[in-house]
């Protein structure tokens, strides 16, 4: 099993929803996109391939370009078929729902062929054999393989096959980490005796950022990577298998393997000399711009929508107030992650509209924040002295005029601080849209941390960029507050 197979971090509700979603997109008769060709002739067609480029040496982002073994192999397959290749870099959690929803035709993301996956997905013939292995510190010669971890502490990436390997050795104490680079960092810090992980990836990280570590012992498992397709794309599977066979026959496959995994490559490739701060800062700036853009758009749309919902909850017609109340309860009571997934993957199936990831992200963030904004406005309106509405009525104003000219101007002053809070929370929550492939700030940090094998350098920097992004928001709110206070 591939280490990332079970790497779902959403809540239980999110998992349940994903299950529902899979059932939905697999239901017969759904308006799924046509495969590129039903005839097996892919010349002149475009093959859309999804990948999670945080997994060197198979796929990562380097200077803004997708690179890696899978990427070159995918391009070669496209070349064999005479098709154009279009890559989408997205989070691993979202890669299969997107495939099944017809957002791409293939997934190439170091995906291990497992019986569980074969129930829902179709695989090409295996193209790479990997396995779990032990990593240890260079200076700790007591670790020579899995047996030597007995009575000691070992680290793994959470929910991976490494856990299955270590289950057989109950006297090894296991510590789980959200990603393999963090486990390796703790190993380097001396808190672990070893780390069990995917062999080629361990080698990559050790080569690029963790020179104090080494791999040791035999491969503990044998895992085969395959190219993933929808089960009904039979013609595509035949074509891809044919292309893989031709690439093997012509020797181009072997050349690619040699380039990435050959002894010469391992020796010759120079380790990265430190962190390239300039390009890192540029990537993070781009991520921050996207984060800010998403947040500002979602706030600009969410503020009026939230205000409308807050006013709707006070409306006389029961239907309106009930609907607005239900809106708040549903959007506030379900995880934002699930809402993002629903809007991007399920809505197109249900309504037949296809949303670009950016639009889906803005829509999800808008709808979600509007629910919180509505509650903030509701409290703000309730905090205004009821005598104000009475005085306005006694002057002959309609309730709409009283709201517009007397109540709301005072409510807005009262809610500026909590609205600022909501804006900042939204800015940070916007990182969840990485699941639909938006390379915002957190996602950029993830990609950089794995590409450079330098989590300790990248994550504090990501935090600084978040701080830089929130400062203009808080400054703006403070200035607005001061201006309104001056009128008193």
């Amino acid at each position: 099993m591939h280490p990332r197979f079970l790497r779902f971090r959403p809540s239980v509700a999110g998992l349940a929803f994903l299950g529902l979603l899979w059932g939905l997109v697999l239901a017969p008769g759904c308006g799924r996109k046509e495969a590129p060709s039903a005839t097996g002739d892919f010349r002149g067609r475009t093959l859309r391939i999804g990948t999670d480029a945080t997994y060197p040496p198979f796929e990562s982002v380097h200077d803004g370009e997708l690179v890696g073994f899978d990427v070159e192999l995918g391009n070669l397959v496209g070349e064999e078929l005479g098709a154009r290749v279009e890559w989408t870099n997205t989070s691993f959690d979202g890669v299969f729902p997107a495939l099944l929803a017809g957002k791409f035709d293939l997934v190439m993301s170091a995906v291990t062929i497992t019986p569980e996956r074969q129930e829902r997905l179709a695989f090409s013939d295996p193209y790479y054999t990997a396995g779990q292995r032990v990593a240890a510190r260079q200076d700790d010669l007591s670790i020579t393989g899995i047996e030597s971890l007995r009575g000691k502490v070992a680290g793994i990436q959470i929910n991976t096959t490494a856990a299955l390997v270590l289950q057989k050795l109950p006297d090894v104490q296991v510590r789980q980490y959200p990603s393999i680079d963090l486990a390796l960092q703790d190993l380097l810090n001396g808190n672990l005796a070893g780390v069990v992980g995917d062999s080629p990836t361990l080698r990559y990280f050790i080569h690029h950022g963790f020179q104090g570590l080494r791999t040791t012992g035999d491969l503990l498992t044998e895992e085969h990577y395959g190219i993933v397709m929808r089960p009904d794309d039979v013609a595509l599977r035949t074509a891809v298998n044919g292309a893989l066979k031709r690439l093997r026959d012509s020797g181009r496959f072997a050349a690619l393997e040699e380039k990435y995994f050959g002894a010469a490559a391992q020796q010759a490739r120079p380790a990265l000399s430190g962190v390239p701060w300039g390009s890192v800062a540029r990537r993070l700036l781009r991520g921050m711009a996207l984060t800010l853009g998403l947040t500002v758009l979602a706030l600009l749309a969410g503020l009026p929508l939230g205000l409308g919902v807050a006013l709707g909850r006070r409306a006389k017609p029961k239907v309106v107030s009930w609907l607005c109340g239900a809106y708040v309860e549903v959007l506030r009571g379900t995880p934002l992650l699930v809402q993002i997934i629903f809007i991007y993957y399920a809505l197109p199936q249900l309504l037949g509209v296809d949303l670009a990831p950016f639009l889906a992200a803005v829509l999800a963030l808008t709808l979600n924040s509007a629910a919180y904004v509505a509650e903030i406005f509701r409290a703000g309106i309730a905090s205004v002295d009821p005598g104000q509405a009475e005085a306005a009525r006694a002057l002959g104003m309609s309730s709409a005029q009283a709201m517009r000219f007397v109540i709301l101007p005072q409510a807005v002053r009262n809610v500026l601080p909590p609205l600022t809070n909501e804006g900042i929370a939204l800015l940070k929550d916007s990182s969840l849209v990485s699941i639909i492939g938006m390379a915002e700030l957190t996602r950029s940090g993830q990609e950089l941390a794995s590409q450079l094998a330098a989590p300790l350098a990248i994550w504090p920097l990501v935090a600084v960029f978040y701080l830089l992004a929130t400062l203009p928001l808080t400054r703006l709110a403070a200035a607005l507050e001061r201006r309104l206070q001056n009128q008193r």
């Binding site: 005085a391 007397v406 009128q487």
Partner: protein, 244 residues
Amino acid sequence: MALVEVRNLHKRFGAVDVLRGVDLTVQPGEVVVFVGPSGCGKSTLLRCLCGLELPSEGEVMVGGVPVRDDAVALQALHRRVGMVFQRFHLFPHLSALQNVTLAPRKVLGMPDAEAEALGRRMLSMVHLGDRADAFPAQLSGGQQQRVAIARALAMKPELMLFDEPTSALDPELVGEVLEVMRELAREGMTMCVVTHEMGFAADVAHRVLFLDGGRVVEEGTPQQVLREPKQPRTREFLSRLLQR
């Protein structure tokens, strides 16, 4: 024709009977003062006259139009009746002038320049012509209440209601508000006033009503009700008021 006609007015809040059959007639130009112990229903009566409360039973007619549960009719009523509250209820986010001009601009659709001229006139009338740009928080209680009076007057009401207008004021600020109200009465404004200021009632009122337990217990000229009360409850109330 009477400006206000109240017949057999009952007002209940849940199980509590606040008004139990009140009859009242107010002629144009009359100043009527309501007195009575706390909880006697005098404020509720006032709020029924301006349509902030609706009768549970009986009838309230203002200018010949019955007060009823109809948003448009109520709005029309509000335009004809000015209300001054115990706690002013000025709009804190607006200057004194804006407080006065808001309703003429938005409700009557008066052009800004005209509304501003009107507002300044109204503020001068309450001797606050020089504080037009001050915000409520920058004004004393007495000044705020005078702005509130100007705000109500700007709608050119036929009837002005005052609900304990000086009760929330420091004693030394009471006089300036009563003075403005005296001037209004002299100019012939029809007024209904709930107050504990017996001096004001004696000087200005044409008629005094003593309410207790949701009913009018005694009614007459200030001389009759305040100096020579016939009802024991009126006498008891007035003697307690004097002992303060």
